[in-house]
Amino acid sequence: MLLRAGSVALRFGILRDIFEAPVLHNAPVRRTMTPVLHVITAVLVLLALLFIGTIYYSYRGYWALQTYFTIEALNTAQCGLVVLAFLWHRFLGIRMSRFVFGIAFGLGLITGSEPLMHALRDSLEARFFHVVDFTQMGIYHIAVLVWLCYVLAWDNIPGD
């Protein structure tokens, strides 16, 4: 759980960099944007806590697993931030660089699938755990491949 918490924290930093990518050389806009981003993140975390809390409230041992559900909520909030990152670039009219797009897409794959994988693991019998683990590892590898492809990439992609 500590490793997962660390991973979730690291992703918040990556998401902040994705938001700041179009305004990296624009200090005034970055100064305006930073507190707004913090407020939006806080709102998304609260909404995610509500979402995850209402889903898992009827679970046995709910009150003993608060930390676990909090991490799930943070993960879900990151899905919202990934969506907002794409919408932010679209609003500014900025085309995401290949590198940023690849990271955002790969990050989206991971953050979007993790809550489902954990719920699946809780629902299945122990003999099927390895199926979920392999699926989750597969998603991670696909995300890494996506990052690598966009970084090393693809001169022939039109408009890229």
Binding site: P22, V23, I55, Y56, S58, L92, F101, G112, G159, D160
Partner: protein, 168 residues
Amino acid sequence: MIPLITLAIFAASFLGFLIFQVRSRYSRSSVSAVGAALIPVDLDAFENLTDPSEEEYLRKNLSAGEFRMVQRLRIRAARMYVSALSENASRLVAAGQSARSDSDLNVAASAQEIIQQAIRLKVWCLLAEYRLMAALAFPNFLSPSNAIARRYQAVAHLATHLPGRAAA
């Protein structure tokens, strides 16, 4: 079971969103947006709509109810101008992005400057939109600002240095 179904729907929707982003990135329409002409905007008319002295004149010569009605009409018109300015800011960003890879270093540097200034303009337009919405709700207490008109003029002037720039 319910958490699993809910999270599966959530994950599927999110995956659909990501796939849509990939498709829209490489669609023809996103590429053809570059080079679109700027929307003509009458900045004098916009400044007139947001002129504090004009507002003060109306406030003195109209009843409270009439002033609120007229002011709301002026603010709605001002919002249309801000919307056009925001769209032009997006087109300036697109023009800057296309010129950024120009072989002429001066043009590339100008393009980068235009992108940054156009992004600032876009954010100002968003803040101006929120201010106008608040002024629409409370026309007696809040007034629109015309500062964005001067900022737009400065950015549009920068764009004149780009080759084959979008006409204003």
